[in-house]
Amino acid sequence: MSLSQSDLAAIRELLQREPTPVEYYIFDAMWSEHCSYKSSKAVLKANLPTQGSEVALGIGEDSGIIRFVRHDGKQYCLAISHESHNHPSQILPIEGAATGVGGVVRDVYCMGADVIGVLNSLHFGISDDPQSVVHTISKNVVLGVSDYANPLGVPVLGGETVYHPSYNDNCLVNVAAIGLIEESKIIHSYVPDNAQTEPYDIILFGKSTDATGFGGASFSSATLDKENDVQNVGAVQVHDPFLKRVLVEAIKTLLRVVDEKKVPIGFKDLGAGGICCATSEIAVGAGMGVEIDLDNVNVALTDLKPEVIACSETQERFCLAVPRWFSGEVLKIFNDEFALPSIYPNAGAAVIGQVIHENRYLVRHRGAVVADLPVSAITTEVTANRVAAPRPISADAVDPAPWSIDQHRSVAERLMGLPNMMSKRFVFRHFDNAVRGDTVVYPGEADSVLVTPIEGCPAAVAVSMDSNLYGKSDPYVSGAYAVAEAVRNVIAVGGRPLCVTDCLNFGNPENPDAFFEFCESVRGIGDASRAFGFIPNEPLPVISGNVSLYNESKTGSAVIPSPVIVVIGRVDDYRKATVMSFPASGLNVIRVGKMYPEFGGTQIQNLVTGLNDVAPQVRFDPESRSNMAIFAAIDQSLVAAAHDISGGGTLGCIFEMCFGLLGNDAFGATLSVRGNAVTELYAENGGYIVAVHPDNLDQFEQLMMSHGVEWTHLGETTDAQSVDLTTDDGQFVINLSSIRDVWNPEL
């Protein structure tokens, strides 16, 4: 329970009486930070652009929806939801991570969309102690994600695994789900207008309600405290992807009938706050009331308290508002055709209430009224005024001193063995990346994964999920850079960025230092989204998102500012997509973009001391020009391989292009860099490395010139298994086979 004394006073004022136990838990969920965004809403509204001419459904329902492609007379759209499941994953990593996937896909299914993929951003701690819990957590979170996504039959289309000691007490598990839907078939999360004139039932379907996940929303809205371990464990939900898979097939059948018969329905998933939150929100969205009888809910156990039935967060459940004449057909699909009661004890569909014309949210249990609230009380906006305390941000970007050749060689040989530089195949090989059969570019082959979800249509979804470690040095940069990097990752495969989603992971907002970091990151995301729009005079719209605060334990420190960004793009024809690995020798290796001596939070800071703490600045105008230029170059088939510069800088980027996914059949490179060698090789300012065939070089350079872009000819690819470097500090050679072993010891 997390309602504060002042919250309770406000509730008494609102109701003019004491709340009942059920009402108490309704407010506990609805007024939690998790559901109400009471600390964050004002900052988000002031900074994030949410409008765009291709937005089919903006922020406000379970998923945001962006138009994707028109094919065969149909307007296809992508529905996207992006959530965190940090606290549950820290307490029970397998269940927490699994239900993170389970929850985010429900948000997409209930729009009427079919999920075509999920991504995950996993942030783990670092410890030298082999007994440390951080190792168990990282292992089991991966297991949890694979335990859910694989049986559900949705491919994991990428993501990231990030290591930093600030995640030792609070891992972060962010998941995004993408669904495909025709625009004309979008189902809304509220009761349709028809309910004004004809009777509408509320149907609950899915797993039978039990006591799991009771108090989940409010538990996610407080710092984790060892003393509350027992209660916290009960607040984590339990996953059942197998049952969900059957539900998804039944939903497809239901939606087919709904479409054929043109039945107006409302459809919502059950998440935080369980039955009460979902059924009140589905009615409130249409300005109506609702009446629920808890005795009609399919329960797994007898004698559950009414507040548990009403508010537990049992997984794998959805609710529908359907015209009464149609209810019987709905029940038949779930209970008979898909035989849910025979698959899981007491699972199925049941009419649990009806839409009413009064402004009331009424709940009955065993004949007695256990909640009776004016709808306005539930939808009351709660806000919390938080204070931000600015801190000085380093801006002293001095050039590093020259290195000896021995130091250069030593750093270059260790770079790819850093936890954040190593191949993450040991993580993602546990995730099915090809179920549905639509994957055309696989995780690790390019900067974005590509899937072609529409039969007969060459358009591919390109998607990237990114965050960074710059937030400690500069929280503004952490937000702006995450957007810039995700945009580059979509462009590097030949994709046109369409929209942004965000998941914002920060510490306690009641702490002014943490709240400053939150505000600055959001400002960075907003500025970058406006700067990197791909439609003239439009921003990249932010269409979905989530805020996760209180990512700190009472004994430990907060996580570093960790905004996680997803950018979704479209490759018009997947046959023009560009991958990362060098395909041949004799190609020109060219860098697009300029490096600056800014090393705050960079990978090289882990290997040498004395570098400045200025985070890699995002320079919106030149980066935007580079983006447009690379997009055009790929579109004109001038580029043989492309990879964005981020963690590990220019040299890290080139090593990855030599290796590709597996490090087999690698090509080497001979490179020459002028200027400060440390900055040129290791700075992480935004840019691209591309490989260009000699026949295309003139045309490529003219294209760069016409876009006003800075580029540097670094050298060429070779058949040698080495990268040969000439710098202002001297010459040295890095043998690829030796760094391949530290980069991917599993090979």
Binding site: L143, S146, N150, P151, L152, G153, D240, P241, F242, R245, V246, E249, E337, F338, A339, I343, F428, R429, H430, F431, D432, N433, A434, V435, R436, G437, D438, T439, V440, V441, Y442, G444, E445, T452, E455, Y574, R575, K576, A577, T578, V579, S581, P583, S637, G660, L661, L662, N664, D665
Partner: protein, 270 residues
């Protein structure tokens, strides 16, 4: 010629039925997806595929509960009448639990599909691209158009893909094996990483004695079209995919001959 009818069976928890249906349709089947409890709908099938997934959550053992469903009796009857039956991944696990592979001693469970191991230790679910080498191609309708020792790339996605065979079958493995794991040049190995799950004899697929039922752990429906091939594998298919990404055109994938072999065998039952 009339297309042979294929049923892709949807068990509770199947999750590869749609792409399997698409691949089969591409190779000339009149395919449809049928739910596990629609018993009457498989009577006219000329071929049956049990697709991948996690039916009944792999409770007890993967495939164990599905193998006891009423519809399995019908499938066994179909198989004994010569209809080709292919089990992919979870479908393979169901065929094993139902005693349809290897059929050395009819009706007995001779094969167990055990959790993946590496050097005897559990490794969990594995998603990867592997290479298969074709064995005894003329003994199974599914491999009839491949050459002995032909190599093809194909993805695996499973947690319980380790063939463990009873003694009665182990003597027959050399004759009943249809695909074994190998490297991209066809060099076979029974050890990691080539044999990623620890399967007996490096076994990826086995056919029954009559050659009309095959259980395989890799996913042919995900290697049915050229576009599905990764650029990160080795060999000729990588070069074909590179060409496709340079503006080429999509075409057949490495499992073409498997689907065509199955289709032609299905025609015989029309």
């Amino acid at each position: 010629m009339k297309k042979p009818k294929l049923i892709v069976l949807q068990f509770p928890g199947s999750n590869c039925e749609y792409e399997t249906h698409r691949a089969a349709s591409y190779y000339g089947f009149e395919s449809r997806i049928v739910r596990w409890n629609s018993l009457d709908e498989i009577d006219d099938a000329n071929a049956i595929i049990l697709p991948g997934g996690f039916s009944y959550q792999d409770r007890v053992r993967s495939g164990a509960i599905s193998s006891k469903l009423p519809i399995l009796k019908k499938i066994i009857m179909k198989a004994s009448s010569g209809v080709p039956v292919l089990g992919i991944c979870n479908g393979c696990q169901i065929l094993a639990e139902a005693g349809l592979i290897a059929g050395v001693n009819k009706g007995q469970v001779e094969i167990g599909m055990a959790p993946n191991t590496r050097d005897g230790l559990p490794v969990g679910f594995i998603c990867d691209w592997k290479y298969l080498v074709v064995k005894n191609p003329k003994r199974s309708v599914f491999t009839q158009y491949y050459d002995e020792n032909e190599v093809l790339p194909i993805p695996v996605n499973h947690g319980e893909g380790r063939f463990v065979v009873s003694k009665s079958v182990s003597n027959e493995l050399i004759n009943l094996a249809s695909f074994r794991y190998s490297d991209h040049q066809g060099v076979e190995s029974t050890s990691f990483p080539i044999n990623h799950n620890g399967a007996s004899y490096g076994l990826a697929a086995i056919s029954n004695v009559d050659g009309n039922v095959m259980g395989m752990m890799p996913h042919p429906e995900r290697a049915a079209r050229l576009r599905q091939i990764p650029v990160s594998i080795s060999g000729e298919w990588r070069e074909k995919k590179r060409q496709l990404l340079s503006g080429g055109s999509d075409g057949v994938g490495p499992s073409e001959k498997l689907f065509v072999g199955m289709r032609d065998a299905a025609r015989e039952t029309q």
